[in-house]
Amino acid sequence: MNKLVKLFTKESSLIPLMAILLGLLFGALVMIMGGYNPIIAYASLFKKVFGDLYNFGETIRQITPLIFTGLSVAFAFRTGLFNIGAEGQFVMGSLGAVIIGTQLSLPWYIHAPLAILVGALFGGIWGGIAGYLKAKRGVHEVITTIMLNWISLYFSNYIIANYLREPGQQHSEMIKPTASISLLNWLSEAFGYNARLHWGTIIALIAAFIFFIILWKTKQGYELRAVGFNPHASEYAGMNVNRNIINAMFIGGVFAGLGGAVEILGVFNYQTIAAGFPGYGFDGIAVALIGANTPVGVILASILFGSLTYGAPGMKFGAGVPIEVIRVVIASVIFFVAASGIVTYILSLFKRKKKEVL
């Protein structure tokens, strides 16, 4: 328990907490200016997220892909790389999973794991391409990953539209039931419970643990972090910087690819011909940022982010706050978290006062 208290009063966790609080306060201010009651609004947000089991389950469904993409961005960041491409790796992961899920007929204990693995591999390769270009050709990963995002979107649209499409529909065929990792059928038969829960959430938590093991308990992870701190020093110490860059992007891509795969196998059971990105990859950047690139931080930030996005319609439904104002509220939370300098400044004001009193 003492440990827990310490965890939350440490500077590194205090800043995000303060930032969230400031964001909510600022959001409340905006709502008051617009003539809406922030208490009712936040209460209905809370109610939408935790109010009943159905919505709670759906919130978990919303949180799951964010953990994956958050881990993806955070992992690359640990090696000093800025992975904007989690979005594209996510899409490629979905594509890999949907190809295996629709095209093969296998027993469930092979089919679902294989679909997940192929999805992860697709994502990994997609990230690896950017890593390769960075390592061998010095192309900045921000540029390549942004470009690869678009390529992945249109590539997967092309594959689905021409090879996997269900006639007359705007999406692929359904995956075979053996590839599904959804808990929905089982839950709704046993309890009449309809939220789209799936095994992917467990996989997300395992992935966060693996993230920790790789980076802090293996030689490879030590090298990755060393390259992140200072590539020149690492090279001088005899590490292969280029290989580490490729590895980091590959593993980051695997995380995002896993997210895309479980989203298909657990939630949709088909992939749509999408006009735009699902947005999880970009949210993943914010999640990694809020989570300070640590596995626990990423999970907590995903919970915050997922709850806010899932609960937002509740504010409209319960308190009549228009969606635009809700977006301002969410954005201000992110803003204060991202601009942690402001928060540290405010905290330091309090600290100084305390010293004067003493």
Partner: protein, 334 residues
Amino acid sequence: MKKVLLLILVLTLAMSTLLVGCGADKETADGQGAKIGMVTDVGGINDNSFNQSAWEGLQRLEKDLGDKVNIDNAESTKATDYIPNLNQFISANWDLTWGIGFLMGEDVKKVADQNPDAKLAIIDSFVDAPNVASVTFKEHEGSFLVGVVAGLMTKSNKIGFVGGMDIPVIKRFEAGFKAGVKAVKPDAEIAINYTGAFDKSDLGKAAASTMYDQGVDIIFHASGSTGDGVFNEASDRKSAGNNVWVIGVDKDQAIIFGDEITLTSMMKRVDEAIYQVSKDLVEGNFKAGLVELGLKENGVGLPENNPNIPADVLKKVEEYKEKIVSGEIEVPAE
């Protein structure tokens, strides 16, 4: 540090209690009258087209019936939002929940199966469930008429069609339009472009630009807010002195984009359909099943005022309309 947190907590609570009085009252339904909710697709409520038209239908109903009806909408930003948004209304026991658009078909079906006591309705897709009312339109009939207009009024003999996604609904627009053009001008060339999106006006602008460059002078778009880009390009060309036109879709788009570039519009009366089905529900006459609205039912057609179309063309349009309504002409749907 704890003191700081405590202080902030106290301040928050203090501020909140002070300001409770200022807030607006709960806007949601309070037990009086029928409650009708509507879930948009990813286009959002202000898409100048489909979703907006649907919402206007509900707003008109609220105006006409006053206290007897309460309405609200939920906007979806991702495809994963559809089911929770539908369930939001259903779990709060709303009397009718609308899903707007073809893309929500499967989700409406799922939710309807899971909640057999709830009533749902959907536009543009047929959901086969005992508690769902489905409304589809014979877009090909209305598109035939604007095809006739385009065929008779083109100077370059080249006509364009910009579609949103390649789905059956939009295919009906294309098929009817082509048939209409061919009926009056068999040798006209028709350029077809599917942008793949209903919400990307940049793609619409690019598609229109290519077509106008090829010598097309009239473009019919059926692409939601992607069409905003088509209008934008047309207006650029018009101010450069080229005589180009756009035929709008869903609503009378001349009202938004002006008579200078809008030749006419293929109105799809989503508002009317929503109004009727919802009104039936309020009066206790809700019927599940499929309703198809065509020219005969005034579900599709041209707007009342068409200042840019000469009288003889309008007369021709009227003739074709009668032939379609009487069944003399069967417009192909694909």
